[in-house]
């Protein structure tokens, strides 16, 4: 595990998302976005084990972190969110509806889970050895189709990695008002191997993800990885009514802080400077890119 590389990826995602919120504040972005601030260790720790040329990722409305970790295509994402013709989907998809290579995302909760299951089925039948990874949150556990998918993935022994990022809120609704019972038991009930982590330490997540990916590669069967996490940012933009004290308490477990403390200060500064430079160049290029127009479409 290259902690420096993981840190740089997490840092870049963090700063990318903060930049999006800034651009919104400046009125340069329209529409909506759901930032991944606070959850970066999940995407980075898991996706480091996937092969973008072979494996498939299906993500949800909060997909920027997964997209950047899997494709490293910051310009395509930023220009997509900015409504530019150079966006990964030509400006048609926007923040929640991305597609590049083996990466897909869609904006209806739960809706992506059977699609990812079907992808696992296709890859298994084609004999590619690919893993279909789907990211869902605690909110998507309220959707019935999620359970239909767990059932089929287990029944048909499909190579699907279900990652539940429990950030304890479904938009503004705290988990105690939206979810009964146990999250890991939901996977276990379908006979799927489960791992549960309550950490924001990318090293721990990286290790758990290695075990999950290795198991799926060996068995060809599904795996249910539960990660308890937290988002520091609002659900989308200004819609945050959580207790600020709660958020401050959680910031003590900021994944950047935990990983950053393991780096030499000089190395950390250099990585951050490199990420900042890349981000600034990306913003400049995306802002300069031509807007998506009906003619171009």
């Amino acid at each position: 595990m290259d902690i420096a590389a993981l840190y740089e990826r997490m840092y870049f995602i963090r700063r990318f998302e903060e930049t999006l919120l800034d651009l919104f504040a400046q009125g340069k972005l329209a529409g909506t976005t759901h930032t991944y601030i606070g959850q970066e260790a999940n995407a980075v720790g898991i996706i480091d084990h996937l092969e973008p040329e072979r494996d498939v990722v299906f993500s949800n409305h909060r997909c920027h972190g997964h997209y950047l970790a899997f494709t490293d295509d910051a310009f395509g994402l930023l220009s997509e969110v900015l409504g530019k013709a150079t966006g990964t989907c030509g400006g048609k998809g926007g923040s929640q509806h991305l597609c590049k290579g083996n990466f897909y995302s869609n904006g209806v909760l739960g809706s992506i889970v059977p699609v990812a299951t079907g992808i696992g089925l296709a890859e298994k039948r084609k004999g590619t050895g690919a893993i279909s990874t789907v990211f869902l949150g605690d909110g998507a556990l309220g959707e019935g189709v999620t359970y239909e998918s767990l059932n089929m993935a287990s029944l048909w022994k499909l190579p699907v990695l279900f990652v539940v990022e429990n950030n304890f809120y479904a938009q503004s609704t705290p988990i105690e008002l939206e979810l009964a019972g146990s999250i890991p038991a939901r996977g276990a009930a379908f006979g799927i191997e489960v791992a549960e982590l309550d950490t924001t330490d990318v090293a721990e997540i990286h290790g758990a993800a290695r075990r999950a990916v290795t198991r799926i590669r060996e068995t060809g069967e599904p795996y249910f990885l539960v990660l308890h996490t937290y988002r520091f940012s609002p659900h989308s933009k200004g819609d945050d009514n959580r207790d600020p004290a709660e958020i401050e308490e959680r910031r003590k477990r900021d994944p950047l802080k935990i990983a950053g403390e393991r780096l030499e200060p000089a190395e950390r500064e250099a990585l951050e400077a490199r990420a900042e430079k890349r981000l600034a160049e990306t913003v400049e290029a995306a802002e300069a890119a031509p807007a998506a127009t009906p003619e171009a479409a």
């Binding site: 597609c99 897909y104 904006g107 059977p114 699609v115 039948r125 189709v145 089929m152 048909w156």
Partner: protein, 348 residues
């Protein structure tokens, strides 16, 4: 001229034709899969259309849990990754469980991902009543699909080349909803002989999902056009024959098989000759097939119309289980005849 009586000797029943087409498709294409409830042999599907497939292709026929929403998503995922799933939804009523996948996934992926993907898949499903199955197993819900952009809706009738329609649906790069009226399965696939089906002359439009145009008078002298599809086709043909024999009224009948994108040209051509249009569908009246046709023909052929477009459809209500109540709910031969006879000026 009712279907069973006028079936040509040697012609096969529609379920068998569809079944044979599936076998041929599986022989020809290794990327085609069937998913559905109870599709395995020896059962072979609730209407027996998949019979024999799982014995021959066990790896490519998947019997599923009763999870229609999930099945639509699974089919979408398979399609995104290069396979060609044929999803059998046991009763058309159950597509309601898949609407999120249809509206927010299957129909959207290609365009919202900027043409980076295609979603070729076929959803085969029986629609329609007249079997006493009651409110949730008898509906014709295809009209709900007609407002969904970027999908293709095909409705087979017993006069169409059913095998060709199904093969073309599987070869299509778009998501295709392939609607099979339940009564179709047991009826003979009445293909034309010498350009006729029964006493009626027939023209077939080009394309993968042709429209069939029928006339008893060689496409002249018709005073009204009746446009319909699917399970209403034999009923409308019977009505057209009754109108000739009992009222001396000659109509042209257009039986579409491609409902979406709507194929209007054969309808417009016929209306240009007849000057009147009646739409006939088994689904409920409001917001349906007939409403869309009426709007489009009014926009495009107002000057050809001598009188307002009329619609024949099911009453806006449930389909009751008891047969006399069901019969009263669904449009029949008499309703079509009445609608034509009532057209102002049609009886000269």
């Amino acid at each position: 001229m009712s279907g069973a009586a006028s079936g040509h000797a040697g012609q096969k029943r529609c379920a068998q034709v569809l079944n044979e087409a599936l076998h041929e498709i599986f022989d020809e294409r290794a990327d085609v899969y069937v998913l559905g409830e109870d599709v395995l042999d020896p059962y072979g599907g609730a209407f027996k259309v998949t019979q024999g497939l799982s014995d021959r292709f066990p790896e490519r026929v998947l019997t599923t849990p009763i999870s229609e929403g999930g099945m639509f998503g699974v089919a979408a995922g398979m399609s995104l990754r290069g396979l060609r799933p044929i999803l059998e939804i046991m009763f058309g009523d159950f597509i309601a469980l898949g609407f999120d996948q249809i509206v927010n996934g299957i129909s959207k992926f290609r365009e919202m991902y900027d043409d980076q993907v295609e979603v070729p898949l076929v959803v085969r499903t029986p629609m329609g009543g007249r079997r006493g199955y009651g409110p949730t197993h008898s509906q014709s819900l295809e009209k709900l699909l007609l407002g969904v952009p970027n999908i293709c809706v095909v409705a087979a009738s017993e006069c169409h080349d059913l095998g060709s329609l199904l093969r073309n649906a599987v070869d299509d790069e778009r998501p295709v909803f392939f609607v099979e009226n339940k009564l179709l399965y047991g009826r003979v696939n009445r293909r034309p002989e010498d350009g006729h089906v029964g006493e009626l002359g027939l023209r077939e439009s080009a394309g993968p999902y042709p429209a069939l145009s029928f006339s008893g008078t060689d496409f002249s002298e018709g005073v009204a056009t009746i446009v319909t599809y699917g399970g209403m086709v034999p009923i409308v043909l019977e009505a057209a024959t009754d109108l000739i024999l009992e009222h001396e009224i000659f109509c042209e009948v257009v039986a579409l098989s491609q409902l979406l994108p709507m194929e209007l040209e054969p309808v417009l051509e016929s209306v240009a000759r007849t000057g009147a249009l009646v739409t006939v569908e088994e689904g409920t009246l409001t917001g349906g097939f007939g409403a869309e046709i009426a709007a489009r023909v009014s926009e495009q052929a107002w000057s050809d119309l001598r009188r307002p477009v009329q619609r024949v459809a099911a009453r806006d209500g449930i389909i009751p289980s008891a047969r006399p109540l069901e019969d009263a709910m669904l449009p029949g031969v008499g309703d079509v005849v009445d609608a034509i006879v009532a057209l102002e000026g049609v009886r000269s």
